[in-house]
């Protein structure tokens, strides 16, 4: 096994285990949030192995470093202690989990039964900030602008909601 595939399987296993740790941990919300962080970091490591360096850095900066911190902030603000976070409708959660597991299993069987496709040859500078920036601001500029409009609307909406509470 090469170093590359060893690292890939290591981080893939870590991502799956920590993701399971997040959804199956019903008693300690902070521990669940931390498992999510481990999942994010393992995914970032896999992105690095795939030469997508910018996406990896942003994965850690935005998801692991900012969004989950906000989750933690809310969890700490509500001061959820152990055992107070057991969902009432356990059977709903369990059947949803079973359905998702079934789908993932079917997909796995389908993927493993067919031969793996040939890996494409990556162009020079793939995944770097230059290539990504150029294609974002030329080919996909309309989508970027639409996303920024959406975010602006969200910010204005949040500001109005926050202001109304203070007044």
């Amino acid at each position: 096994m090469t170093v590359f595939s060893f690292l890939f399987y290591l981080f893939a296993a870590l991502a799956v285990v920590s993701a399971l740790g997040m959804v199956m941990n019903l008693r300690n919300t902070v521990a669940a949030a931390l498992s999510l962080v481990v999942t994010m970091i393992s995914l970032a490591a896999i992105y690095v192995l795939m030469e997508a360096h910018l996406v990896a850095a942003i994965q850690i900066m935005v998801y692991a470093g900012a969004i989950v911190v906000l989750f933690l902030f809310v969890v700490m603000l509500l001061n959820l202690r152990q055992d107070t976070f057991a969902p009432g409708r356990q059977w709903l959660v369990k059947s949803a989990g079973a359905l998702a597991g079934l789908l993932v299993g079917a997909q796995l069987v389908r993927l493993l039964s067919s031969p793996l496709p040939e890996l494409p040859v990556l162009p020079e500078g793939f995944g770097g900030y230059r290539m990504l920036g150029i294609s974002l601001y030329t080919d996909y500029v309309l989508l970027v602008e639409m996303a920024s409009l959406l975010l602006l609307a969200a910010i204005v909406g949040a500001l109005i909601l926050a202001k109304r509470k203070i007044d």
Partner: protein, 381 residues
């Protein structure tokens, strides 16, 4: 080559973690003493020899190791244990991409004096730094103490806010140097620029030739003076040291997020701040103060000048030593500046910290990006 990387890592760890960080704890106390007209840390001695009080870091370490490692009742034992590690690791690891010397050639062999030189170097530091928030937040949460929890909440809000402006205030410098790699930035700054060159480019009439001699080093701080000030403010706020020490504000929260820590676990929180002081100094040097570059004396001049008398190999070796020395001098200057700020400014109020971030630095950094882009378009067309 793994051996080369190991040696470079050993140099970094030896200089930063083992040598500089403990000395800084002494500098902090001694400088505060000088600024407050006291004598300061000078009592620790071995057989009456005090060495200016330099034995204090040693005494501190012995004291911290000998103390009881206490976990408060009702605390989350696992998270209480790992929180200081999460706080300390990013500070040490982020030194991996800061160059402490340039790129040198021995025949065909290329020696770059940075442990790693990824194309996205500065993003790596931002990513690692954003993980450090968890050490603080978990330390405060897991202690089962309301003061600690308040400190952790303040820390999480403050660190997320300043991460945003920290990135934005650096965009100008990325635009100027057209790269995110700190090694390339160092090479770009190892030169000088004409002070009156912009007259020729912008206004269109030629500058008299004798004015070409008026040159300044092509350092980031001369391209982006506003970026320098904003980035220094943001990164000092990320480090949570005064005047931004709201998460541990002694007069309000006793000691904030690490109040329930003792012994070497407290020591890790304490040391990680000082290691980050060195990282901040190194980063500011690499980005804005020309890194390892000696002003008005670029690498080719040194190697060409000395090499014609003593051979190129000797000249390159001398150049490495000179550059490393220059880098360390600049780092020490930046550490001194941070210490002077720490003992000069009083602590902000919490709303002032947030206002500074979102109402002052954020708009200013966006304006800075706009102006930088406009000037670059005019100069380069």
């Amino acid at each position: 080559m793994p051996i080369e990387e190991l040696i470079k890592t050993a140099v970094i760890l030896g200089v930063v973690v083992l040598a500089l960080a403990p000395v800084i704890t002494w500098i902090e106390r001694k400088q505060s003493a000088v600024m407050q007209d006291r004598i300061g840390a000078n009592r620790a001695d071995i057989a009456g020899i005090t060495v200016l009080g330099l034995l204090h870091p040693l005494a501190d370490v012995i004291k911290l190791f000998a103390k009881e490692d206490f976990v408060p009742q009702g605390a989350n034992r696992v998270m209480h244990t790992i929180a200081p590690l999460i706080a300390a690791m990013p500070a040490i690891v982020s030194y991996g991409v800061i160059p402490f010397g340039g790129v040198y050639y021995f025949g065909d062999y290329r020696l770059s004096l940075a442990v790693a030189d990824p194309d996205w170097g500065i993003l790596y530091i931002f990513a690692i730094a954003s993980i450090a928030t968890y050490g603080t937040v978990l330390g405060g949460w897991s202690s089962n103490n309301n003061w600690s929890l308040l400190g952790a909440m303040r820390a999480s809000a403050q660190m997320i806010s300043y991460e945003v402006t920290m990135g934005l205030s650096l965009v100008g410098i990325f635009m100027v140097f057209q790269t995110l790699s700190l090694v390339t930035m160092g090479l770009e700054q190892d030169t000088t620029m004409r002070v009156f060159g912009f007259v020729e480019r912008l206004l269109g009439f030629p500058v008299p030739a004798f004015l070409d001699w008026v040159r300044i080093p092509a350092w980031g701080i001369f391209y982006q003076p506003l970026g320098f000030v904003m980035f220094l403010a943001c990164i000092m706020a990320e480090n949570k040291r005064p005047p931004f020490d709201l998460p541990e504000a002694e007069s309000e929260l006793i000691a904030g997020f690490f109040m329930e820590y003792s012994g070497m676990r407290f020591g890790l929180f304490y040391m990680s701040e000082f290691i980050q002081v060195v990282v901040i100094a190194g980063l500011m040097t690499a980005l804005f103060l020309g890194g390892w570059a000696i002003p008005y004396l670029d690498t080719d001049t040194i190697i060409g000048g000395v090499g014609s008398f003593f051979g190129t190999g000797f000249a390159t070796g001398l150049c490495i030593l000179l550059h490393f020395g220059t880098f360390m001098v600049k780092v020490v200057m930046m550490i001194w500046l941070q210490m002077a700020l720490r003992w000069t400014l009083p602590r902000f109020r919490y709303d002032q910290v947030m206002d500074l971030c979102w109402k002052i630095i954020l708009p200013l950094s966006i304006a800075n990006i706009l102006v930088t882009g406009a000037v670059m378009l005019m100069v380069r067309s």
